[in-house]
Amino acid sequence: MKTLLVSSALAMLATLFTPAHASEHNGAAMAATCAGCHGTHGKLRNQEFVPLAGMPEAEFIRAMRDYKSGKRQSTLMGNLAQGFSDRDVQAMARYFARVK
């Protein structure tokens, strides 16, 4: 039973990386590079870093834009946000908003 649950959960997670999504300008693949801090699929339990899973698109886009412009202070997100175009950010926003 437990195994069944685990494997169906795995299948569910895996669909997030299926090509239909990945081809949306790489949102899923790009978002995966954030996981070293924000957790696999943007999911974290109890950590200093914040989870991104389920974040509404507008909230995510505003955060990235304000980091990039320097309007919002940060330790390092300001540096990282420089590396992503508006299109990149939108693709990641769509991806993270969809993770439940």
């Binding site: 990386f17 990945a22 790489n26 590079t33 801090c37 950590q47 390092l76 300001g78 590396g83």
Partner: protein, 442 residues
């Protein structure tokens, strides 16, 4: 759930099954990964996330992974050797990844088979290799693997040498000299030697206040250099060289007094020519010095396995096609992590983790007959100038003319970072050790 014994049995059963031709009519493709370090473990997990139907087997020499990142904290007693151990159980149980604990000794690229020391033959459709580094102990006259295990540890592949270095630091005489020999480029973990120097200096301020640390370096710069030196200056009274003063905050004034940490660069004669194994006297271009504790981080090349498999070029590293990290030398083989030639992308855990993901997606796509995506990679290395003093290098990379290039932007913690940013950086560094390990291994 499988218990540990089942796990081992399952691995053995799979090893037999795997010796059969790799792809019968409608079985899923078999991806074999050699090396269950940061690169290999992450690749295995993300292959399963990309396509749970793939059969994924990791061949790894050791049952427990000893992580290198964060291992300098063992030297100063902030962490124990046991803290460095990472289990493979989660990868096996959660994702159904198979593990074979054995050492790969060779492969047959035509038959697409891998051979192990335990005389197993494992067939693959695609092979991902993440063998890490080998240390060129004998590149420095007088230094050797034997000396590294007994008197002058390196501790750059974590293990017994890391523990030995910790003991030696504790036992060092009051007022003694800790000499750290930094490696030439390219090497694993660019800010690592300098972070270790900082943590040792911090430790000595508390436990050996008249002790002193000297870095002998064959380079004139290093990753995070300005921000790291600012940290040394603030915490240990380090004197910042004139050519690094540009952009420093206005209150930074060298005292000119001898500081407990000193960086002797190539241009100041820092290049080492030999070590006397008896007296631990180090001869370098600018003079000689007798070490009480000697930590040598020797030049590096790709892991031995990469040589055995014929995956390296004349540089001693593995040439790859950048988009997918496919080996330029053998078909159906991908080389990721420290061993690969990834241009400006540093040899770090974060890089290995990111390369693993992009390569896992590419392999899943290729097996499904799709073209790989346009890649973007990232690297962030956190580093400490002291326990509460965090800094970092952060980069985003993309492909340009089959080379990996940086997307411009600030790379380091800014020199006018506030005390809050600096302390938060240190808190996040500690958090990263956990979240990163989870992303790779759980």
């Amino acid at each position: 759930m499988l218990n540990r014994r089942d796990f081992i049995k399952a691995g053995a059963a799979l090893a037999c099954a795997a010796a059969l031709p790799a792809r019968a009519a409608d079985t899923a493709a078999h991806v074999v990964i050699i090396g269950g370090g940061v690169g290999g473990a992450t690749a295995a997990k993300y292959l399963k996330l990309a396509n749970p139907k793939l059969r994924v087997t990791v061949i790894e020499a050791n049952r427990v992974y000893v992580r290198g990142y964060g291992s300098s904290e063992v030297v100063t007693g902030h962490a124990t050797m046991a803290d460095l151990n990472v289990s493979y159980d989660a990868l096996h149980q959660r994702y159904g990844i198979h593990f074979i604990f054995d050492t790969v000794v060779g492969f047959d690229p035509d038959k697409r088979q891998v051979r192990t020391a335990g005389r197993q033959t494992i067939a693959y459709d695609k092979l991902i290799v993440s063998p890490g580094i080998s240390l060129q102990y004998s590149a420095i006259p007088g230094y050797s693997a034997a000396l590294a295990e007994t008197r002058a540890p390196s501790g750059w592949i974590p293990g017994t040498q890391t523990a030995l270095l910790a003991q030696q630091l504790k036992a060092m005489r009051q007022g003694g000299t800790f000499v750290l020999i930094a490696p030439p480029k390219p090497y694993r973990c660019p800010p690592g030697p300098y972070e270790r120097a900082a943590l040792v200096t911090e430790w000595m301020r508390k436990h050996n206040p008249t002790g002193k640390l000297v870095i002998l370096d064959p380079k004139d710069d290093f990753v995070t250099d300005a921000s790291m030196q600012l940290g040394w200056h603030r915490l240990y009274g380090y004197n910042i060289p004139a050519d690094f003063m540009k952009g420093m905050p206005a209150d930074v004034k060298n005292s000119g007094k001898p500081a407990p940490i000193e960086w002797v660069r190539a241009r100041d004669g820092g290049t080492v020519s030999k070590i006397d194994p008896k007296s631990l006297t180090v001869t370098f271009a600018g003079g000689s010095i007798k070490a009480d504790v000697l930590n040598v981080i020797p030049p590096m090349k790709a892991g031995k396995l990469a040589f055995d498999m014929g995956l390296v070029d004349a540089s001693g590293w593995c040439p790859i096609e950048r988009r997918t990290f496919a080996s330029s030398l053998h078909p159906d083989v991908f080389v990721i992590g420290d061993a690969s030639i990834a241009d400006v992308m540093p040899k770090s855990g974060y890089s290995a983790n990111n390369q693993a993901k992009i390569t896992a997606f590419a392999v899943a796509n290729l097996l499904a007959g799709r073209a790989p995506d346009e890649p973007k990679w990232k690297n962030v290395c956190y580093a400490l100038a002291g326990s509460d003093y965090g800094l970092f290098v952060a980069d985003v990379f993309r492909l340009k003319d089959n080379k990996i290039v940086q997307i411009s932007g600030h790379r380091y913690m800014s020199l006018d970072a506030t005390p809050t940013q600096i302390r938060l950086g240190a808190a996040y560094q500690q958090a990263w050790l956990k979240t990163f390990t989870e992303d790779c291994f759980a």
